[in-house]
């Protein structure tokens, strides 16, 4: 296994997963820690869950910690990034897996809801990208940022109007920052297909489930672990050193088909 280890192992790296207690974020944090990175789980409200996941990793002999952060507050982001640096070192792998969804009809979204979605899904992700990149760029250090986008970010899905718009902006931002911060920091996005998480559980009616299955080549939902291969590949400077500004679908063939 030495060849694989050489390509993909993350020993000596500091990884942070924003939304680290979510269905997808916790699987991602687990895989980064198991690949050898010191892994910070960043949560907003679920302190107990963050602690439990973290303790499990530590009891397996891995390096993990948990920090509270509010992505809607730039000071909170700076403080958290600073605390992780004081405790460990600069974050050089950042995964943005937090987010909020909404299926409010187009005619009924009010200003408050619009702002909430854009603040959490877009502005907070931008601020976090920037806070982590600033330290690395100052020192000329390498890093890898992975933003989670959505299959609704390109050809829209019905119902999730504002959510899809926020994720479309994430794609554009990812490409912009890839050029802006090259050759030091690689910025890519993973585009998950349908992975039942907290964000979309309420939207998945029987009718919608049926439509999803009809339009998915692999004919099933993804499971959180299935995102982790793409994360490890993009996180490792050795494995994906020439990959930046890409949007990688992990969607069981959803975007490859129409009718």
């Amino acid at each position: 296994m030495s060849y694989l280890h050489d390509m993909f192992n993350l020993e000596g790296r500091v990884a942070a997963v924003v939304g680290g207690t979510g269905a997808l974020g916790s699987a991602i944090a687990d895989s980064l820690a198991r690949a050898g990175a010191r892994t910070a789980m960043i949560y907003q409200g679920s302190r107990q869950k963050a602690g439990e996941i973290c303790n499990e990793l530590i009891s397996d002999g891995l390096n993990a910690g948990f920090w509270q952060m509010d992505v809607r507050n730039e000071n909170s982001i700076h403080e958290t990034v600073q605390e992780i640096r004081n405790e460990w070192d600069d974050i050089d792998i950042l995964v943005n897996a937090s987010g909020t969804n909404s299926a409010t009809p187009v005619m009924e979204i009010d200003g408050e809801e619009w702002d909430r979605i854009m603040e959490i899904n877009l502005k907070g992700v931008y601020w976090t990208n920037r806070a982590v990149a600033r330290n690395l760029l100052k020192k000329g250090k390498k890093g890898s940022i992975i933003n989670l986008t959505s299959v609704s970010s390109d050809i829209p899905l019905s119902k999730v109007f504002a959510y899809g718009m926020s994720k479309a902006a994430i794609n554009n931002m990812t490409r912009f920052l890839a050029r802006e911060w090259a050759p030091y920091i690689r910025v890519n996005a993973i585009m998950p297909g349908f992975f039942p998480g907290q964000q979309n559980r309420e939207i998945l009616t029987d009718e919608r489930k049926q439509l999803i299955m009809q339009h998915s080549a692999i004919k099933r939902y993804g499971v959180p672990d299935e995102l982790c291969g793409a994360v490890l590949w993009l996180a490792s400077d050795k494995a994906s050193s020439f990959v930046t500004g890409t949007i990688i679908p992990v969607d069981g063939g959803f975007t490859a088909m129409t009718i």
């Binding site: 060849y3 694989l4 090259a182 080549a217 982790c228 020439f242 500004g245 490859a256």
Partner: protein, 274 residues
């Protein structure tokens, strides 16, 4: 998720067309070092002998079969030999492809005079040379209800580059076909047959080194400089840059990744140039 389990390709049999080329040889070494058995398929026996020798030096179990990817019977023969020797085949990498000067435009080569046979040749090599091996090896995958196909597209499939209309269009066809085949295999044969593609950006190889760098001092030519100016990573790719993407796409770690085209291009396709 663990590296050892989810990136494991031990015992898998990987057939690689264009296996004597610089890029595909690196893929063969990487998969071989990770425990896969390698089948080199190439029309150039001399080149294949060099790669074969290196595989042998590394103790990698392999086979080299002279194959013309534009001739279905030649591919059928190669697939038969592969299965006779190794008992099965699990992975097909369609690495064969290329361009030729007659199929490019230039100051003294106007678009209006491009010879039909040169355009057809480029389409045959890049598109049919991918389509036919997918048909032949895909049949084995359909019968055993599992398999993994990786096509090699190009970043000029997203947006064409100047001068090479046939190559760009043929690679766009490879990307489109990759998505089609992914869905077709899932719907009709098995959801355990995956089909994806890689779209490499500008990689420095022996074939293009003379176009991109000056022989005398290794400095960049004008075209080389233009490419670097449009590549956020500000360098050419190296054959090794493709290898880990292959390792991810061939392994269980990517089992929900299907019908996609992965750019490995230093950010070239993410940047407008302005």
């Amino acid at each position: 998720m663990s590296l050892e389990k989810d990136f494991d390709v031990k015992g898998k049999v990987a057939a690689i067309t264009g296996g004597a080329g610089v890029l595909c040889a690196e893929m063969a070494y990487a998969l071989g070092e990770s425990g896969a058995k390698i089948v080199l398929l190439d029309i150039g026996e001399k080149g294949m002998a060099v790669v074969s020798k290196e595989l042998e030096r590394r103790g990698i179990d392999h086979l080299a079969i002279k194959t013309d990817v534009m001739d279905k019977s030649s591919i059928e023969e190669a697939a038969k030999k592969t299965v006779e020797h190794f008992g099965r085949v699990d992975i097909l990498i369609n690495g064969a492809g290329g361009n030729k000067p007659a199929a490019t435009t230039g100051p003294d080569k106007p678009f209006f005079d491009m010879p039909e046979d040169a355009i057809k040749w480029v389409f045959d090599l890049n598109f049919m040379g991918t389509f036919l091996p997918c048909q032949v090896f895909g049949k084995y995958f359909a019968d055993q209800k599992s398999g993994n196909i990786i096509n090699i597209s190009s970043m000029n499939a997203f947006t064409p580059l100047t001068r090479i209309p046939a190559y760009s269009a043929a690679k766009a066809a490879v990307s489109n076909f990759t998505q089609w085949l992914a869905v077709h295999m899932s719907h009709h044969y098995s959801t355990d047959i995956r089909v994806n593609a890689i779209a490499p950006g500008f990689l420095l190889t022996d074939q293009n080194r003379f176009l991109l760098t000056n022989e005398s001092d290794g400095s960049l030519t004008d075209r080389g400089q233009t490419i670097i100016d449009h590549t956020p990573a500000a360098r050419f790719g190296d054959p090794k840059d493709l290898v880990s993407t292959i390792m991810w796409l061939t392994a269980p770690a990517s089992k929900f990744v299907h019908g996609i085209v992965v750019p490995v291009d230093g950010g070239f396709s993410a940047f407008s140039g302005v």
